[in-house]
């Protein structure tokens, strides 16, 4: 049966037009994303594994090697069992690190452009013969139906059609970050077509030639040599096991497989589904192979078994079935060529062209890169066509594919190193791959070229190695992989890894996460943009920065160090899809400035924490255990009822816990990464000045955040790197912020009650003091009524006014002392603290204490210098003095003396109240500042006096201490902040470390 060449051309053209339409509709969104992103579509697109080798060549392979033909698809089935072990980790790595090709994966793990170049070179060399095989299969199948057709015209026409389709849809987008929905759907559709076509031909063979399953069983029973021939190669093991090994690796190491499985942004659920659906697809595809083979043998067809898929339905007289079978072959071949060329062209651009031509991309690198990739796609397809044309003899269709399989198997040791062996080194990988590739060239490629007439002479295994195993792949497989593994392991064990390589190894083993370069060399988004613009042009740099900012939800302005780090990270990821990971890193971080400095530590800690907090990180081993410990400690810090803020050496925030967020109203995500001084007022300036003050480890601060008044106590401790077992730069500081607002309010109430209690104690004295002038006023007023002399009357009236003035002074003094007064939170930090001359306040306190009946009998002498002033709350200072003088009077004998003096000591004033009383025993000294502790008889003391004195002194940033000797006397010292002349007062306060 013959079909016209024009008919075949039209069918092929129509079919590819249908593919165009499908891909176009998917790209436009007419076919919804939920359909193109369906796991079944993903599984079918993995069916690109089955090329014309499986479609046409499977029958010929089964005819010559029996059940060994199944090994080509049993290997991928075993690989699917290993999906959680191998595929999932590669998928996560590819997604997380934007690794869009096999070369990217190896270049990322083994850290080097040379690695990528080598992988790309081998992939290129191994792919060209494979592409040639597809063209060969399509041309041969077309000529089986149209024997007069020109192989040149068929080959060129097929190549041109494939180039057009690939350029239009496969290389339509530049970067892998944009999923080729149209391409994936088209490849899946091609899988359906080849499956349906092969099943249809199988059904025709089974029912049309064998008369059904019963007829086939009868045929096999009558011809036992057929099944014997079928089973013998597997039983004898010739090539079967090595082919399973080859196809196991090919399932994910072939460029087309890596591309559809990992580079197109598959979801993990799709991969889980495909782990079952993909081998089912392969099983169904292989099911018709044996019935077709036996049908051809039964029919006594003269053709090669490689074209039985066409010849059997043709022999049955069908006109449509051979065309369908032809279409299936075109599907199988075209899918392979399209995806392979896209993947390999991308690798070539990233590793061959861009590193040397990056500066030539000009102002529109997107467009130039796109056309570069398209040109490479065309070059690859026509290189395949050229290879096909130079072959003088064609062997079995599978042979070329097998040679490619052996080449790609050279990546297997390196891949296992990526996933499971952290000690594997770049030198080991390159050595193993280089030696394995050389063996492959000698044992597989040269013999192939010799067999197909490309090279003269006999370069087969028997000629080269003196051995012939009856098939072409086992010897090169065993030899090349043995050499590869031996060198890979040996060199890796002997050599060391660079820090970058070790870091990548830990990331690949999921024992670490990316922390990126040591520091961000740019101070703003604009600086990063300018750095990119020097290489990529202003427009592209702006577009990339804008894209990355949008993806991170950041704005251009006000980026902290942490934000800049995230921005650089995101830009690098995005560019990785465009240029590959190595170039992208070089573009974003052109040179490591060696700032193994403070910022790097803070950045790394913060980013480490950020990444570790991502869900489903999947850490294993000791990393997982350490992560558990980290999470526990993190939770403890987060839940502490006191505010915790950890700072890097440059005072940028690394940790900001929940209590601190509640107190300050600043969320951790807002504060994290910001330099302390850039935090909003009032917390930023206060925390910053406290962190910078090396003299104080603790301070009480009253502040107003606009919502309420707060009283906080700050503590700090430096984080010493040496204590963490590290050397070099310090880790920074930790600040604790204790919200004491409620406590301060309670203390203020206590102080006030103490004051009222002392007012009560003074009441009798007040009554006596007021009573004397009042008696005088009464007498004077009575005499005044009867005084006829006006001059005498005026004199008496003046005396009355004087006595009334005495009363007024006593009442004002008492009122001024006893009113509700200040607290730590009210009326405000600056409202009551002022420069207070000391001597007048001491005089006032003495006057008040004299109101006490007991105080009157004690001589109190103020010897404070007149020019000495303190920065204090006047009322509270008075309260300190009253409490101390009262105690001194109580302790003194009748007629005793109490001295009050003061002296300046640096930036402070030490006030002393000295008595010659009974003194304080040691056992009382230990408790004398405890609230409600008193040695006075019940009803005569509240036990609050000294506690209040200490509280007020601390509030002023001062201190109280006592020197006492029983029987000799007591001196109470109170340190308060010095207030110099108003111009210098602030400095003195600052130096003293007083409360603001």
């Amino acid at each position: 049966m013959t079909i016209a060449t024009s008919t075949l051309s039209l069918v092929a053209l129509g079919y590819l037009a249908l593919l165009f339409l499908l891909a176009h509709l998917a790209e436009r969104g007419t076919i919804p994303r939920r359909f193109t992103g369906n796991p079944l579509v993903y599984s079918l697109s993995l069916g690109v594994y089955a090329t014309s080798w499986t479609y046409f060549g499977g029958v010929g392979f089964a005819g010559s090697h029996g059940l060994t033909f199944l090994a080509v698809c049993l290997g991928p089935t075993l690989a699917c069992i290993a999906a959680p072990l191998v595929w999932q980790p590669i998928l996560r790595l590819s997604r997380d690190q934007q690794l869009t090709s096999l070369a990217d994966l190896f270049a990322f793990r083994y850290r080097g452009r040379r690695v990528g170049v080598f992988v790309t070179l081998l992939a290129l060399v191994a792919s060209v013969p494979y592409i040639a095989q597809q063209i060969h299969a399509v041309v041969d199948s077309a000529r089986a139906l149209a024997p007069t057709a020109s192989p040149t015209a068929l080959g060129l026409g097929f190549s041109a059609l494939l180039t057009t389709f690939t350029v239009l849809f496969g290389a339509r987008h530049l970067t892998a970050r944009e999923r080729h929905g149209g391409l994936a759907l088209a490849v899946a559709f091609e899988s359906v077509v080849k499956l349906v076509a092969l099943l249809a031909v199988g059904a025709a063979a089974l029912f049309g030639v064998h008369g059904g399953i019963g007829g086939l069983e009868a045929y096999l029973a009558a011809h036992p040599e057929v099944t014997e021939r079928l089973a013998a190669p597997v039983r004898e093991g010739t090539g079967y096991s090595s082919l399973i090994l080859l196809s196991f690796g090919a399932a994910f190491l072939l460029p087309r497989q890596y591309h559809v499985a990992f580079a197109e942004g598959a979801e993990e659920r799709s991969l889980r589904f495909a782990a079952v659906a993909f081998p089912v697809f392969l099983l169904l595809l292989n099911l018709p192979v044996l019935p077709i083979l036996w049908a051809g043998q039964r029919l006594g067809l003269d053709a090669s078994p490689d074209v039985y898929v066409l010849a059997v339905p043709a022999a049955l007289g069908s006109t449509k079935l051979p065309l369908l079978a032809f279409l299936g072959g075109v599907s199988a071949a075209s899918a392979m060529v399209i995806v392979t060329t896209i993947a390999v062209a991308g690798m070539c651009v990233n590793y061959f062209v861009l590193p040397v031509r990056l500066d030539k991309l000009g102002e529109d690198p997107y467009r130039r890169l796109l056309w570069l990739r398209r040109a490479l796609v065309a070059a690859l397809i026509f290189a395949g066509y050229g290879f096909y044309r130079v072959q003088e003899r064609g062997g079995l269709l599978v042979e070329t594919g097998l040679v490619s399989f052996v080449a790609f198997a050279q990546f297997l040791p390196g891949l296992l190193g990526v996933l499971f062996w952290k000690r594997a080194t770049r030198a080991g990988f390159l050595s193993g791959l280089g030696a394995g590739s050389l063996v492959w060239v000698a044992a597989a490629l040269l013999p192939l070229l010799s067999r197909t007439g490309v090279l003269p002479g006999d370069l087969g295994a028997r000629a080269l190695f003196g051995a012939d195993l009856g098939e072409s792949w086992t010897l090169p497989t065993v030899l090349s992989l043995s050499v590869n593994v031996a060198l890979f392991g040996g060199v890796s064990l002997r050599g060391g890894q660079s820090p970058e390589e070790a870091e990548a190894a830990r990331i690949c083993a999921r024992e670490a996460i990316v922390v990126g370069p040591p520091a961000t060399p740019w101070g703003s988004a604009s600086e990063l943009e300018q750095a990119l613009a020097r290489k990529l042009g202003a427009a592209v740099a702006e577009a990339e920065i804008t894209r990355a900012l949008g993806e991170l939800g950041l704005s251009r302005e006000g980026l902290g160090r942490a934000d800049l780090r995230r921005l650089g990270d995101q830009v690098e990821r995005n560019l990785s899809g465009l240029f590959g990971p190595i170039l992208a890193r070089l573009l974003v971080h052109p040179a490591d400035r060696g700032e193994g400095d403070d910022a790097a530590i803070a950045d790394q800690l913060r980013f480490l924490d950020e990444r570790l907090n991502r869900p489903a990180l999947g850490l294993t081993g000791i990393a997982a255990e350490l992560d558990l410990l980290r999470r526990y400690l993190r939770t403890v810090l987060e839940e502490l009822p006191i505010g915790v803020c950890a700072l890097g050496p440059r005072r940028d925030v690394i940790l900001w816990n929940r209590a601190l967020a509640r107190t300050t109203g600043l969320a951790p995500e807002v504060a994290s990464g910001l330099p302390l001084e850039r935090l909003p007022a009032p917390f930023g300036p206060i925390l910053s000045s406290f962190a910078d003050d090396t003299a104080r480890a603790e301070a009480d601060v009253a502040l107003d955040d606009g919502r309420r008044r707060l009283a906080v106590r700050l503590h700090k401790a430096s984080l010493d790197a040496e204590s963490a077992g590290e050397t070099g730069a310090p880790f920074g500081l930790v600040l604790l912020l204790e919200d004491r607002t409620e406590r301060a309010a309670l203390e203020a109430q206590l102080v006030h009650r103490d004051r009222l209690a002392s007012v009560g104690r003074l009441a009798a004295g007040v009554a006596h003091e007021i009573g004397n002038p009042l008696t005088g006023i009464t007498c004077l007023a009575q005499n005044l009524a009867e005084e006829p002399d006006a001059a005498e009357a005026r004199a008496r009236a003046r005396l009355i006014l004087e006595q009334a003035g005495r009363i007024d002074a006593i009442v004002r003094s008492l009122l001024g002392y006893s009113h509700a007064g200040t607290s730590a939170v009210e009326p405000g930090p600056e409202g009551t603290f002022a420069r207070v001359p000391l001597a007048p306040v001491v005089d006032q306190a003495i006057a008040l204490v004299r109101l006490d009946r007991t105080g009157k009998r004690i001589q109190m002498e103020n010897v404070c210098p007149d020019d000495l002033a303190v920065h204090a709350d006047r009322q509270r200072l008075t309260q300190i003095l009253i409490n101390l003088l009262t105690n001194a009077c109580d302790a003194s004998q009748e007629g005793g003396s109490v001295f009050i003096d003061a002296e300046r000591q640096d930036a402070s004033v030490v006030l002393r109240v000295i008595d010659a009383g009974t003194g304080i025993p040691e056992e009382v000294k230990a408790r004398m500042f405890d609230p409600f502790f008193t040695t006075k008889p019940r009803g005569e003391g509240t036990g609050l006096g000294l506690a209040v004195v200490e509280s007020i002194a601390r509030e002023h940033g001062g201190a109280v201490w006592v020197e006492s000797e029983p029987g000799v006397g007591t001196t109470v010292h109170v340190r308060l902040p010095l207030a110099l002349a108003p111009r210098l007062g602030e400095d003195a306060l600052s130096a003293f470390g007083g409360t603001t």
Binding site: L67, L70, L74, T77, L78, C80, I81, A82, A83, P84, L85, Q88, L216, E217, L220, P224, T227, E228, L230, A231, V234, R235, Y240, S241, I244, E268, R272, F273, A275, V276, P279, V280, L283, N286, L287, L290, A616, T620
Partner: protein, 66 residues
């Protein structure tokens, strides 16, 4: 005696891969690659391997769920 920790998806996969390799590559293959067996026998073995792949994928899903 403590409760043994739950096997990870990768561990399950490794064990199942060993089982699959045993069926496909060990001398056990003489049982299905025998001229006396039906020609569909290798495909039944293949179906068994697919069942192992399904088990491994189930382990992965369960692992993620937990």
């Amino acid at each position: 005696m403590g409760i043994p920790p739950r096997a990870s998806a990768a561990e399950i996969s490794l064990v199942l891969l060993g089982c699959g390799a045993f069926v496909a590559l060990s001398p056990l293959r003489l049982a299905w690659a025998h001229p006396g067996r039906t020609w569909l026998a290798p495909f039944l073995v293949w179906a068994l391997l697919i069942a192992l792949a399904a088990l491994a994928a189930r382990g992965e899903r369960r692992g993620r769920g937990s």
